[in-house]
């Protein structure tokens, strides 16, 4: 894909985040979509391309009153929206559509109009994982981390610092769910969820949503918001069974998607001003820093513990507070994208001064999928 040919011209989250007991899941999608439409000064009738995940494109397009000529229902978990951005950019470049709306929302906390997850007993997961007591992401996502720690020499205190540093960012964000400062001791004394992870190393469970609008860079200059260009993209999948990852020392899906995006963008790691790495659990930023090539995995724990990713550090990471402290409705990738767009527009609550390049990296399932988008505000 060519660089900077497509731009984000509309971006918004749901009006409220956190606990939203008065809206169903499809209405949360609509709330985010209408906010993004207003942000871009568009009408719904201007939208000719539509992508969403979990909810089907036909469900949401009909609810919103959209008649698309291009749809994408890629649903690979929380990074689905990174893949949607990549696919939408390709579709716009190919002339399949002009203006794409991507929506995410989840009634993750209130569970209104949300279908429960179900693992069929004759699926591979149902036969070879479910019988051994996996029960939701906290029992599955951390399974690789003890091996990762042993291989790379990562300590429990370093993994606690991931949560501590992200709370520092959240404290600067009025919309963050959790803003009170925490210490390493607070993290290591919080309730055990799935050893080695405790409550403060697990993401929040909230309600909310977000939406993006993309169009060609040529048209983007006519919109009211500062365009945020798509500089590079990557995607991959590995396995829906965490036990069957090629190795627990790294994520194959990360190692494919991340470098693909860097190569496409034509940038090196020192060019990155701002970084988002989807943090469903505290180990993900460490996998991300290593697998995206910022540093060897062995150095990731110390890099974060030494303060390099905190406010004022040389590599600002998860500047909204992340899934650990900002919000996490179930598929957090959309909120990571929203924060990258805010940083590139220069309007983030914890704005990184003069940030010009933002890398936004997402995970889907338990290391099952990955998508990386690199944004810039300079064409």
């Amino acid at each position: 894909m060519r660089r900077n040919q497509v731009a984000v011209v509309g971006a918004a989250e749901t009006t409220e985040l956190g606990v939203i007991p008065n809206m169903s899941q499809i209405q949360l999608h609509a709330d985010a979509a209408l906010n993004a439409i207003a942000d871009a000064s568009l009408k719904l009738s201007d939208i000719d391309g539509f992508a969403t995940a979990v909810e089907t494109p036909q469900q949401m397009a009909h609810y919103l009153g959209i008649t698309p000529t291009w749809v994408d229902g890629t649903s690979v978990g929380g990074c689905s929206f990174m893949l949607h951005v990549r696919h939408a950019a390709a579709a716009i470049e190919a002339g399949l559509c002009k203006t794409v709306l991507i929506t995410h929302a989840e009634s993750g906390k209130s569970m209104i109009g949300k279908q429960p997850r179900f693992t069929a007993p004759d699926s591979l997961n149902g036969q070879f994982e479910a019988p051994f007591g996996v029960y939701g992401p906290p029992s599955m996502f951390p399974i690789p981390v003890l091996r990762f720690m042993k291989t790379h020499g990562i300590t429990h205190e370093q993994l606690a610092m991931v949560a501590v540093v992200q709370r520092e960012w959240a404290a600067k964000n009025p919309r963050a769910t959790m803003k009170d400062p925490i210490t390493v001791a607070d993290v290591l004394n919080s309730r055990m969820i799935a050893y080695p992870f405790r409550l403060l190393q697990c993401c929040l469970v909230t309600d909310g949503g977000g939406a993006l609008i993309l169009t060609s860079a040529d048209r983007a200059k006519d919109f009211p918001q500062k365009p945020v260009y798509i500089l590079g993209t990557g995607e991959s999948v590995e396995t829906p069974m965490v036990s069957q990852m090629k190795t627990f020392d790294s994520s194959r899906a990360f190692k494919v998607a991340g470098p693909l995006a860097f190569k496409e963008a034509g940038i090196s790691h020192k060019d990155v001003d701002h970084l988002m790495i989807y943090d469903a659990f505290a180990h993900l930023p460490l996998y991300g820093l290593g697998d995206l090539g910022f540093m060897p995995h062995e150095e990731t724990g110390k890099f974060i513990a030494d303060g390099n990713t905190r406010p004022g550090g040389k590599l600002p990471l998860n500047t909204n507070g992340g899934g650990l402290s900002y919000m996490h409705s179930g598929m957090y990738g959309m909120y990571a994208l929203q924060e990258s767009v805010r940083q590139m527009r220069g309007i983030a609550p914890a704005q990184v001064p003069n940030a010009k390049i933002s890398v936004c990296h997402g995970v889907g399932g338990m290391f099952a999928a990955s998508g990386t988008i690199i944004f810039t505000n300079e064409k």
Binding site: P131, G133, Y135, M192, F197
Partner: protein, 137 residues
Amino acid sequence: MAEPARAKPKPTPETQHFWDGTKAGELRLQRCDACANVYFPPRPFCPSCASRKVSVFKASGKGKLYSYVINHRPAAPGFTPPYAIAVVELDEGPRMMSNIIDCPQTPEALELDMPLEVAFEALDDKITLPLFRPAKG
């Protein structure tokens, strides 16, 4: 009312040999006749070279502890927390999820790379699960 039971696998045509094996007290894997790749979970072709010529064989049942969590909450139906959910690296190469029995469910007792051996636990007259215990001797 019966206690909630643990999730029970339902075999498919491609996995039936595996579940027939555990019922007979054997851990069965597949090996590619063309490239010798040993793989899991079961399927009637080699995921490495795509050959359909593959053979089922009885594995040694030996392996080591690759990684795990000790789950505290929420607990799956049929489990009393805290319980370890483990991934075992078999001597033949493939890894599989399982539980570790005859061993305290603590970080001190569950050492990475500790040798393990398979044990079989019947859920009913159709399904027997492959579990693992610390290897003797």
